[in-house]
Amino acid sequence: MHLTKFKDAEHLVRLAGAFAIVLVLFLLIRAHFIPKSFGQYGHYRGNALAELSSKPVIYAGHNACEECHSDVLDVKKVGKHAGVNCEACHGPLAKHAEDPGSVVPQLPDTAVLCVRCHEENIAKPKGFPQVVGAQHSSGEVCKTCHQPHSPLLSPGEKKS
């Protein structure tokens, strides 16, 4: 071995030492900055899923409404609006569902509510009931004749 003793070998040792220190520093910094849950499900922060699913709900969903308002459900489920969920007209009411006293929902104004869906438009499906709002009711609000929860006029009533 005495033959191959490299001149100035300590330079290389020092260089290797410097590399080793940089490598260790890099690994430490990397470990510090990469979140613990990174890679749990894929190339992303696993905890993000739990964070995103813990956001508050604004629309309670019709099941929550029906727990208390079963009387309305009984009317609605036999009518033409059976498939329309409560909050589609009444607005977001998760707070009301949590604590009914805290938020009292406003009754929607049928003069503006109904035409959102039923105003005539060429692009609407042909079978969908549509009216020209201005001509249909001569200024009367919709609920004078139609009950919003079951909007078909009863057979005895005359269509105007």
């Binding site: 992303y44 993000a48 899923l49 959102r116 692009a123």
Partner: protein, 242 residues
Amino acid sequence: MITRRKLIVLLPAAALAWKYVLAGTPETAPNYNRSEHWWGMLLDIDKCIGCGNCVRACSTENNVPDGYFRTWVERYHVAGWEQETPQVDSPSGGIKGFPPSRFEGGKNFFVPKMCNHCVDSPCTQVCPVGATLHTPDGVVLVDETYCLGCRYCIQACPYGCRFLHPTKHTAEKCSLCYHRITKGLTTACCENCPTGARQLADLKNPDDPIHEFLRTHSVQVLKPHLATGAKAYYHDLDGSVR
């Protein structure tokens, strides 16, 4: 002083604990098993009336800034001979419904648009930091605490479903109401669609009506030639829709 005997006990214990160190804080939705779901959506062109309820509901539920949309509705007009160049309008994303059309005749219909929650999503592939992610239950989400706001994903999405939040400066998109579907609710847009034109679908649930629907109806996805594995299934989609 660590003896050999102690080391034999310590090493397996450390190996066991390491899993929990890596996991970080535990999940907050304990009753929801991510591996049991595979989410998509059914959008029925024949049923959409362009009322804008979905756009309003999405906006409210997800606190979407004014003038930006996670979902929106387009109105198509196709004259008989101009299949390749349809006239499309979407005033304010359809959030206030649609005024009377300036066209007569031809084909006219509404197309609700949203993130397609692609299986091979281009947006996830281009994210340089892993802020756009594909969940084990098939939803594409943005981790806003990790997003740099580099806009790569916005350019990569072939469906134009992403935008940069004007104040947070992070990428935003439809989350398929991940905070709702993991709690057993449907999405805000589906909850508020009056005609059932939008239906959340769990493709791993054998009882979901989506399976029967896909078997018995003509269903298409947007831009199928891009092979993104889109999971927004459109019923009776016209060939002119881009």
